[in-house]
Symmetry: C2
């Protein structure tokens, strides 16, 4: 043991994940040293406030407010501060000085990833970010290494625990969005300001990271189409249940091949998932990444997508890997963006849709609706009509499942339906994924 | 592209996996070169019979019966022959010459793994074997790298597709073992001689590989307790269903801590799994590895556990990883067996059990049974009694669920029950895992 080299590890941030990383590192030091082949010396923890309350006890002498100074001479820098600045500047400083970086900062990666990877490449260092994609679920190495000889066709992923918790409870209890959100906030599953989660921003960042890796393509955050779950109501979930589906907030990353021209589509939105699909059985705040690969077929990676100690596991895994590489020599794994496939706008996405309409209950209406769909190049797979009692003028609810259609065609067709004179209300339009 | 180094790749074996590896390597050469940073030149494929029929077309000039000569000068050797010899000798020859090795040979790894890893260590080469543990499911890198900073507490895995297919159909159709086996053989899900699968030999090899990695301990195959599924009948599955369980053939690898003394237990046997457990929803020939880690919590890795092209994906992933490392420099990842925890005999395993008995239906019998269990240090959690009409002398069926007990105590207690005079027949004893 005594002949191990010593590696200087600097930690930036001591929030819910950072404080757990510090605790595990201090607690399991000798075991981690054996696995890494190096002593991992935690030389300091940069924080904003020395006296803030933390989830674990970090020895006072390790705490510092001077992050820049802490970085000097560090071999490995772990960044768990979150946000763009000053995290970005600190990591560039660390990389330029030849340190390896471990980060769980999805916002930073999704917006400034290429800059960091480029800086790492210049000095033969590496950026590891297992914790940024799906919390504790090991997905980066499987995508980057295990599937390196395969071709990923599609990823469908539940990568936000808060929204999955909310949708799952709505599904199980028939409860409405606002009630479950309030309860989730009370229980700590949702933030006081839940925007980043419920509007899909968090999921979109993760989708950008997953798609970049899977398709060897730089996927900027603004190329990810994003819709949140604030429009999902109890009626929508009940209607989905009746036809054997569940509503999930999905990150969908897919490869497209249009007559030999390859491109990708990356989007985050609520989607109908058939109850028999493995993703449908992902309950509570759990996450899962379902991967369809050309040779490997269907794979799924399941686990906790968030949580301080769970996410700390991913950070420490990266730390040990980085340490091994520093000891073994050789340059780090660079990012592969050699494919750099074009990224399609949402209008060119293709999937199935469920369109729910309220129409007048009179003869000829169904024919008009069907005609409008046909004119719009949207082909009907299933249609179900139920009568809604409404005094003298009875109405009907039409639930239409389409075959695969182009998003732009679908949008235009829904506009045409709304203007057709026979449709009282477009109740909802939901994408159906994974059939 | 032209400035890539060229790496010489030799393939041993062109069976269902090998022939797919050759095809994918020839077909996706340029894409794989971009990912590996090296041209992967398939220099030859060693086979026993040049004229055998194969799943894919391999150019005749690549085929050779002279494996030893093919190895000379190879950078990377892929071994997919199976069996111990001559695979072992070829791989030792390759490693001694400084080549890296990719293998899917679980029998070889489970019996001669340490010898291969030692040979690799001597020259700074590496042995990769993603395809040997769970087919296409990426599990080696998650265990070795992603969880390198965590502590695996338990693995429960469905690692044999044939037996899962059989048990799943028995569960879904209420069919009996022999009928489903015959059908599985007809459909190609089971071999003409199904022994390796149905007696648990295949699963035991994989359990040894998974436990070695998870616990940083050399686990020899003969330390793995093994039971197959030939004793599982329709009645057992029906009884399990009634109480909310499904029968699965599980590989269980668990860490034990008895008052600070650490050890591990590795076993393969049919087990009752609660229907809500993620493993219960693994259907057909699919595999899944459920991992409980100290920090990361519960993770599951799901996918195809077998199949030529699926498994080829894992082999190619290893190939690209190995190539990257040869280009980047540095020594390979050695095996970590630094913990080398003692491996407990099956008698010292601890789990819950379901004991099904046929007893005389008369007063005092339940008291005798309960007393025998108490004397044997086996504590009762649940008991259910049903009357079996049997002419004058009615009998009762007792289904007893125990709390966690020591396997040896359980065995002794079941013997004592059989000899107690009130038990007509011990119908079954099944372990219950994952509650």
């Amino acid at each position: 043991m005594t002949d191990y080299r010593r590696l200087r590890v600097a930690l930036l941030g001591a929030g819910s994940v950072g404080s757990q990383v510090a605790a595990l590192l201090l607690q399991h030091g000798p075991e981690l040293a054996d696995r890494a082949g190096a002593h991992l010396d935690l030389v300091g923890v940069a924080v904003r406030d020395l006296d803030a309350k933390r989830d674990t006890d970090i020895p006072r002498e390790l705490l510092t407010t001077d992050a820049e100074r802490l970085l000097v001479g560090s071999d490995i820098v772990i960044e768990l501060m979150g946000g763009i600045e000053p995290a970005r500047s600190y990591l560039l400083q660390a990389l330029n000085a030849g340190a390896d970086v471990v980060t769980g900062n999805k916002a930073l990666l999704a917006t400034h990833g290429p800059e960091l990877f480029e800086a790492a490449d210049q000095v033969g260092a590496s950026v590891h970010y297992e914790a940024a994609a799906a919390g504790a679920i090991p997905i980066i190495r499987p995508l980057r290494d295990s599937l390196a000889g395969d071709r990923v066709q599609r990823i469908m992923a539940i990568v936000n625990g808060t929204t999955n918790y909310i949708l799952d409870r709505m599904d199980q209890e028939g409860a409405d969005y606002a009630d479950v959100l309030a309860d989730a906030q009370r229980l700590g599953y949702a933030e006081a300001d839940p925007t980043a989660d419920v509007e899909g921003y968090d999921a979109a960042q993760k989708a950008a990271i997953l798609a970049s890796l899977a398709f060897h393509t730089t996927v900027p955050l603004d190329a990810v189409h994003r819709e949140g779950i604030t429009g999902v109501d109890a009626a929508m979930i009940e209607a989905a249940r009746k036809v054997g589906y569940v509503v999930k907030l999905l990150a969908v990353c897919e490869r497209r091949d249009d007559a030999g021209v390859e491109s990708i589509s990356v989007r985050v939105h609520p989607a109908l998932v058939r109850r028999e699909h493995p993703l449908a059985s992902v309950h509570g705040a759990n996450n899962a990444v379902f991967v369809q690969a050309e040779a490997a077929g269907n794979l799924m990676f399941y686990g906790a997508g968030a949580g301080g100690v769970q996410t700390a596991s991913a950070v420490l895994g990266d730390l040990v890997s980085v340490a091994r590489r520093r000891i073994a020599g050789g340059v780090g794994v660079g990012e592969s963006t050699r494919a750099n496939l074009p990224i399609l706008p949402i209008g060119r996405a293709r999937t199935r849709y469920q369109i729910t309409l309220e129409v007048d209950d009179r003869s000829g209406v169904l024919a008009t609706v069907a005609g409008t769909l046909a004119d719009g190049h949207v082909s009907i797979a299933t249609v179900e009509q139920t009568i809604i009692p409404n005094g003298e003028q009875a109405r009907a609810r039409l639930v239409i499942g389409t075959h695969i259609a182009l998003e732009q065609d679908l949008e235009d067709t829904v506009d045409a339906l709304a203007a057709s004179g026979v449709v009282e209300r477009v109740v909802s339009v939901l994408r159906m994924e994974g059939d």
